[in-house]
Symmetry: C2
Subunit: 146 residues, 2 copies
């Protein structure tokens, strides 16, 4: 069951969200979407807070714009993460092992899917697939280092 925990500050309070979709693949995907979406929304908010603090003034427009950006970026990162987590899980089931090749294939497929969904240039889809695979492999290697 995916349990997403969002910490409002660096220590307390916490909000626990638990959703059970009745299927491990769906659970993983939803969990990835929620967690990474929350991270991306926080990033967008932090970026806008910095801009507002720097400018020294705040308006209703700022808030609306920030909120829209949070939703947009959260949904985008969340979708990418959900697709990746689901594909990596699928790879693991199909291949029957856990290693960096799952991450690489997951990254390649995610890059290709996300790129194909957002543009029509076939060359760019291939390049994005290669880049996605490289990023996923790099993240997997760092995971074993730290």
């Amino acid at each position: 069951m995916p349990r997403s925990r969002f910490a409002g500050s660096l220590s307390t309070p916490c909000v626990d969200v638990a959703i059970d979709m009745g299927n491990p693949l769906l659970n993983l995907t939803v969990d990835g979407f929620l967690k990474i979406g929350a991270v991306a929304a926080t990033r967008a908010a932090a970026e806008d807070v910095f801009h507002i603090v720097k400018k020294g003034s705040i308006s209703k427009n700022n808030c609306e714009h920030t909120l829209k950006k949070m939703c947009k970026e959260g949904a985008y990162w969340g979708t990418v993460a959900g697709v990746y987590v689901g594909l990596e899980y699928g790879m693991e089931r199909v291949r029957g092992t856990r290693d960096w090749k799952n991450a690489m294939m997951g990254g390649v497929l995610t890059g290709a899917l996300v790129s194909a969904a957002s543009n029509n240039n076939k060359d760019k889809v291939v390049i994005d697939a290669i880049t996605g695979g490289a990023i996923a492999t790099a993240a997997e290697f760092i995971r074993y280092l730290t």
Copy 2:
């Protein structure tokens, strides 16, 4: 002792590189640099191979350009990874615990350092620090999911 294993094909042959710098922090950093550098160099090579295959012709210039790009991208990704791995290890030693906050702080510092080293715009350094922290946090969350 860092042991970097590069697989030439998807199964064999393998090259094992082991370098001991006599210090766990340096070992991690060097290991991160080598592994992620290799991934980035492979990505650059794969991208250029795709372009060459698509164009259907190859020249000496292509090879030189690809080699230069592999070195440049490998060094860049490797440096970023080395800095991040070193900082996350440092965070762990300073804070005494292992959790996603190490990854976040490591990402923030890495983003700020890399951005400060490559450009002079102070605003961009802050934005890159926020983005670095978000990416590292997202990667850490995905690590627990998969």
